[in-house]
């Protein structure tokens, strides 16, 4: 019987060209328009990232004291005067912490994107609880001394910088992580050169060049505007399936078709199950068509097809939950107003928060959190991660959230659906 509801629902959608145009044609057109029109803005004319990160730098050591300690040690060594002079000179010039703070993180190039806040070690705990920081770089005690010994004497492994990332700001924190890694690699190279005796006091740490695209960073693949909007528009327009299904169902009530269904001794639960499953399937098909067509036309590759299908199914379940809730509410207030309100106001609001029009999560932490609470926003994060090359485990929380969202909507619809006496 559920099969009949599904078949009927599909036939009704297929026979409605206006709906099809809105659900399939419109998002594709918008992807094209937004992708090309905002491509330069999104991708950045200068290839620079659109990121504003606040980073805490916690220095537990004392750079000058470390250098002095190293210089004393060198002077007491049995080395030639020339060797001693070169080492002391190099040691005084290296200043790894100052370089990281002023020349790397504080460079003119990065200053536009990163704000470095020097924090006392005693406040580390407090900073770690502060969500406004994208990352914390902790310089351990004796770091400079270790770096110098490693680079110039080759005696021990250098102390590593500690790096804490804010999981809620994975894009920006990974960006910073990349810079720090690059910084460490340069010092490793410096150290290797030192051991080989190739360096002299004129050697300077090379600039760390930052490349990036729209909120992309790191070693993961960049997201281009077309790809971004493919996801943004698809997760937005799939929400219309829910409102349309709600409207169709209310229309069935208005036309007394629903009475006929009840008179066929079909329980309201079977009816709601039919609504839920058909909405899930419609959403799943719509998303696959949208992604399929857009990916083919714009040569977008999905690195993990299985993960993509799992996220798509989870989003479809969430849309199914919304569809069944909107149906229940329409029936309860005996009006199509709930569907219409969802279609005209909530979809736009969800899309704005979820980042369908622009990466709104970058505006503030609050926006980011709020966006991730919307089914479209949550699924958008997951899709973008998959497109960047992340695996299924990195998007599990989004999948779980979407499934929970779906379950919550179904439970709410069970509560909202009117009792028998108020059905007809």
């Amino acid at each position: 019987m559920i099969q009949s509801f599904i078949k009927k629902q599909f036939l009704l959608f297929i026979r409605n060209p206006h709906e099809l145009l809105v659900l399939l044609g419109m998002p594709f057109i918008l992807v094209t328009i937004l992708g090309f029109a905002l491509g330069n803005v999104m991708d950045g004319d200068d290839g620079a990232p659109k990121i504003h990160a606040k980073i805490a730098l916690v220095n537990e050591g004392n750079e000058q004291a470390d250098i002095q300690r190293f210089v004393h040690e060198v002077e007491s060594m049995k080395l030639s005067a020339n060797q001693k002079q070169m080492m002391v000179h190099t040691a005084k010039a290296m200043l790894p912490v100052t370089t990281l703070k002023n020349e790397v993180l504080g460079s003119k190039e990065l200053k536009k994107y990163i704000k470095v806040v020097t924090v006392q070690p005693s406040k580390l705990k407090k900073v770690r609880q502060d969500d406004s920081y994208a990352a914390i770089i902790k310089v351990p005690n004796g770091f400079t001394y270790s770096v110098l010994r490693n680079a110039l004497l080759g005696e021990q492994q250098p102390a590593k910088l500690s790096f804490y990332v804010n999981e809620g700001k994975e894009m920006t924190s990974e960006f910073v992580e990349d810079i720090v890694l690059e910084f460490q690699q340069r010092y490793s190279m410096f150290s290797a050169l030192g051991k080989s005796g190739f360096i002299n006091h004129s050697f300077t740490i090379p600039d760390i060049h930052v490349q990036g695209k729209v909120e992309t960073v790191t070693k993961k693949k960049p997201i281009h505007a077309i790809t971004y909007y493919m996801v943004g528009m698809s997760v937005m327009f799939v929400l219309y399936i829910a409102s349309n299904v709600g409207s169709y169902a209310f229309n069935e009530k208005q036309l007394h078709v629903f009475d006929r269904i009840l008179l066929a001794d079909v329980s309201k639960w079977s009816y709601m199950t039919g609504i839920f499953i058909s909405t899930v399937l419609l959403a799943f098909v719509q998303l696959n068509i949208l992604y399929g067509v857009t990916s083919s036309v714009y040569h977008i590759k999905w690195p993990a097809l299985f993960s993509f299908l799992i996220v798509t199914l989870a989003l479809s379940l969430a849309v199914g939950g919304l569809g069944v809730l909107l149906t229940a509410l329409n029936f309860r207030i005996n009006s199509e107003q709930v569907s219409r309100f969802f279609q005209s106001v909530l979809v736009t609001l969800f899309s704005l928060l979820g980042g369908s029009f622009f990466p709104s999560g970058q505006l503030s932490d609050f926006m980011n959190t709020l966006g991730n609470f919307t089914p479209n926003g949550s699924s958008m994060s997951a899709y973008l991660k998959l497109l960047q090359g992340y695996g299924l485990t990195e998007v599990t929380h989004s999948i779980l959230y979407l499934c929970l969202f779906s379950a919550a909507m179904v439970v709410a619809s069970v509560w909202a659906f009117p009792k028998r006496g108020n059905l007809s």
Binding site: K8, R15, H256, V257, D259, L263, S424
Partner: protein
């Protein structure tokens, strides 16, 4: 097999839209439920068909209540709603298939039933056309066809001929008659078209303002007016003073005016002709004809409620 409504009452907030309705249907009969718009017919039907629960009273199938367990009745009951309860974007065949499936028909049995219904309602040639392209009459026929899919023993038809052309109307009436004769289907037929009820029904319930005000066979109901005559006067021009004067006469029961035809009810034992001609002369009314007619159900309704069915 018998279906009955016992003291059915439905109250919405402070308004009683149906008040203590009693009626019954016995196997193989066609029963008419007659009443003007707003009389409470559709609410009564909704309660009998278990779509809405009554505020008080009961619906019984073979003397067992079906209010709490509607399944038993729903299996043997077909309902033709007043509205076109169909999917306009599906074809006639697809509609029948969908409703057949939800009635648990499938495979060859469903196919056979769909073909049979299409034949019965005369839409075999148009089975693949979308309902939205159908005429009003065709939609009405399909509306009936859907209710017949599960071969119900009882069928309730709520004004199934509203808004269609006379040809389609006759087709539907003939179909109802045929279903009753050939399949022994029990029919509860509501209408405000008196002639339909007269043509189809064995027994009639007349309903007004939420209550049954008369019931019985056609003859029994017409006998309500055995003591009265219906006098129909055709006039050249309707003069308002004449109508007012008629209404003031104690021997004249009910006056209706339609175009240039004035109808009154008056006791048989009183010769009203002299009175009518006197009033006509006083108000400059010119008769083109005056005749005494046998009472119709319409006259009975007028007598009982003080207004015409389609007022």
């Amino acid at each position: 097999m018998m279906l009955e409504a016992v003291e059915l009452t439905k109250q919405f907030k402070q308004t009683k839209v149906v008040n203590g309705v009693n009626l019954y249907l016995e196997k193989g009969e066609i029963v008419g439920l007659l009443g003007p718009n707003g009389a409470g017919k559709s609410t009564t039907i909704s309660m009998i068909s278990t779509l809405i629960p009554p505020t008080s009273g009961d619906v019984r199938l073979n003397n067992k209540s079906v209010i709490k367990e509607p399944s038993k009745l729903r299996k043997v009951l077909g309902v033709v709603p007043q509205e076109i309860a169909l999917y306009s974007d599906l074809s006639a065949k697809e509609n029948l298939q969908f409703f057949g499936r939800i009635h648990r028909l499938s495979g060859a049995r469903l196919q056979k039933k769909v073909d049979e219904i299409l034949e019965q309602i005369g839409l075999t040639d148009r089975q693949n056309d979308l309902v939205k392209h159908f005429s009003g009459g065709m939609k009405r026929r399909l509306n009936i066809g859907v209710a017949l899919l599960h071969e119900p023993e009882f069928i309730i038809m709520d004004e199934p001929t509203v808004g269609i052309d006379p040809q389609s109307r006759n087709y539907i009436l003939e179909t109802v008659k045929r279903l009753n004769e050939e399949k022994q289907m029990t029919v509860l037929y509501t209408s405000h078209y008196m002639e339909e009820v007269e043509f189809l029904c064995d027994r009639i319930y007349i309903m007004d303002k939420g209550s049954i005000i008369a019931s019985g066979t056609k003859e029994e109901i017409k006998n309500i007016l055995s003591s009265e005559n219906t006098v129909e006067m055709k006039v050249e021009k309707v003069q308002e003073p004449f109508i007012d004067a008629l209404r003031l006469q104690p021997v004249v029961n009910h006056v209706t005016v339609q175009d240039r035809v004035i109808t009154i009810l008056a006791p048989k034992e009183i010769n009203v002709f002299r009175l009518l001609f006197k009033l006509a002369e006083e108000t400059n009314t010119v008769f083109t004809s005056v005749e005494i007619k046998t009472p119709t159900l319409e006259d009975v309704f007028l007598h009982l409620t003080g207004r015409a069915l389609r007022d």
